[in-house]
């Protein structure tokens, strides 16, 4: 009891030396903090200005947005009403296009998971012959920038008769997403203990049973990360969507946004509003699954 009082009293009556030492320490800490802020504030501004500008346009009436105002003087949700009500000829298929984006992203996520998980299981756990070659092929495909595959893919989809169908974009996105997916899932599979497989085999498990009852349950975190990766990749894709789809009712949202650019009298505030609506789901998905994504991130590298 007495020691506690002594301790609590001590800082209240420091000697002059202690006080000046505390002051220099405080000054030093304040200096470090100031230096950190000197980096942190420009980083914050640099990061947020384009996004702030996007939001500012979306919640401002047309005249305000075009007058170069920095703050929303008359914030309104009118633009959202117009977009959701499809009340502009640029937006006459907004919901159809939103649905196209969602469907294609979802299908890409699921198909990539099916293709990549079974391949990773075959290579890592069943040690299929030629697995190493397949991994190298996948890695090679992953490194070739997708933009260079776009033109040949466009011609290929034409010769398969898939052009202007959702399947063209889904299959193209699965092709682009699966190499990284296989790579990450294979690395995650390699970390699972062999003893589990051995125990299951002793109990007479066949490869499909091993896959279903041992492998899949253990791989859930990696599967979530890869599913989300493929989903976001497809939702965000512009180039392939714009090459492979062309009818107004077939295209995805980014293509619709790009087509605003073609006209001189584009309604900017509506373009920005649609852009904001389009950008929100992936940002939300990213932050919800951040926990899983960071593991996947450091395991390899997601395409930037």
């Amino acid at each position: 009891m007495s020691t506690t009082t002594a301790r609590s009293v001590l800082p209240a009556t420091p000697s002059a030396e202690e006080r000046s030492a505390a002051r220099t320490n405080w000054l030093k800490a304040a200096g470090t903090e100031a230096k950190l802020l000197l980096i942190g504030i420009p980083v914050l501004l640099w990061t947020l200005i384009p996004i702030y500008h996007l939001v500012l346009f979306a919640i401002s009436p047309k005249q305000d947005a075009m007058s170069g105002a920095l703050f929303p003087a008359h914030p309104t949700l009118q633009n959202f009403k117009i977009v959701f009500g499809e009340k502009h000829y640029f937006l006459s298929h907004f919901w159809q296009q939103f649905w196209n984006s969602a469907l294609i992203a979802f299908a890409t996520g699921v198909l990539t998971l099916v293709v990549a998980t079974s391949a990773a299981f075959a290579i890592s756990r069943l040690k299929v012959k030629g697995g190493r070659t397949v991994m190298n092929m996948a890695l090679f495909t992953y490194f070739i920038p997708a933009a260079f595959l776009a033109v040949p893919m466009y011609k290929t989809m034409g010769s398969y008769g898939l052009l202007n169908t959702k399947w063209a974009l889904i299959l193209a996105m699965v092709t682009i997403a699966s190499p990284y997916a296989i790579w990450v899932l294979k690395q995650a599979s390699d970390k699972l203990p062999v003893e589990l497989d051995e125990a299951a085999i002793m109990d007479g498990a066949s490869p499909p049973q091993l896959f279903r009852f041992v492998y899949l349950p253990l791989m859930v975190p990696s599967l979530v990360a890869i599913g989300v990766y493929a989903l976001l990749l497809a939702w965000n894709e512009y180039l392939f969507a714009f090459l492979l789809l062309s009818r107004d009712t077939d295209v995805t949202l980014p293509v619709a946004l790009g087509s605003f650019l073609a006209a001189d009298d584009s309604p900017w505030e509506l373009l920005m509003t649609t852009g904001l609506i389009y950008a929100l789901p992936p940002a939300a998905v990213y932050y919800v699954f951040k926990r899983y994504m960071v593991g996947g991130l450091t395991a390899g590298a997601v395409k930037s």
């Binding site: 200005i49 996948a138 260079f148 893919m153 512009y238």
Partner: protein, 289 residues
Amino acid sequence: MSATVAEAAPAAAAQPFRLSSWQAWGLILIAPYLLVFLFFVIYPIGYGLWLARSPASYAHLAADPIFARAVVNTLIFLIVGINIKMAIALLLSGFFTNERRWIRWLSVLFILPWAVPSIPTILSVRFMLNPEWGVVNQLIFRFTAEDGPNWLNDPTLALSLAIAVHIWKSLPFWTLILLAGRLAISADLYEAASVDGATRWQKFLHVTWPSMRTLYVTCTILSMIWTLGDFNSVYLLTGGGPADLTHVLATLGIRYLRLDQVDHSMAAVVCAMPFVLPLVYVLMKRLSK
């Protein structure tokens, strides 16, 4: 002893059968990817090379001043843009190792450019830079009473801005990767350096950099490869303009395609390969080490 032998014998007999059944399942499970690879990687590449077979396409490209300009732009993008980006990412990764609550919040916001799709944000930048209505020139006019530059109508400015947009978009990603690299360095090394009286710069030079060098170089190569295929930053900001002076190899192929010159388009992609393939080769060598 005899029990072991008795057990081993049936196992050995069962082995070939079990192995082959496992191999069969392996082949079945790997087949979907092989089909995807065959139909959507091998076939398109073969088809593309076949389209680009005529020497006349390359003669046409060589004679096209836009092609020469695109090659130069691509090199500037890679050599200047990527090195600036990676240097900033290296510095910022050091900044984010500071443990503060506000820095943790900042890092959550900092990832936004990478987490949101590029189209809306690039278009937002494009509108900010509009010479008449854009907020940048309106501010310049308000403060100086003079008209700002026509940002995207000057090839040098436009290309620099495309590089800036690229950096804006991908800086968070590389900073995160390098941050992971920094956090993997043992704190003991820094403590030992402090005991020896090392300055911050000496710590960076003798502790951080030697541990980070391999990661940094790998990231730089990877970023160069991906930047070669960065279509959005240029296409959505400048559209290759003014007068097709800001094209890079990734957008040039699409330009020819839109002009219905598929053979030139493929030839342009083939011309990008001398840039891509050596980098991919070096990277795969580094990663398989």
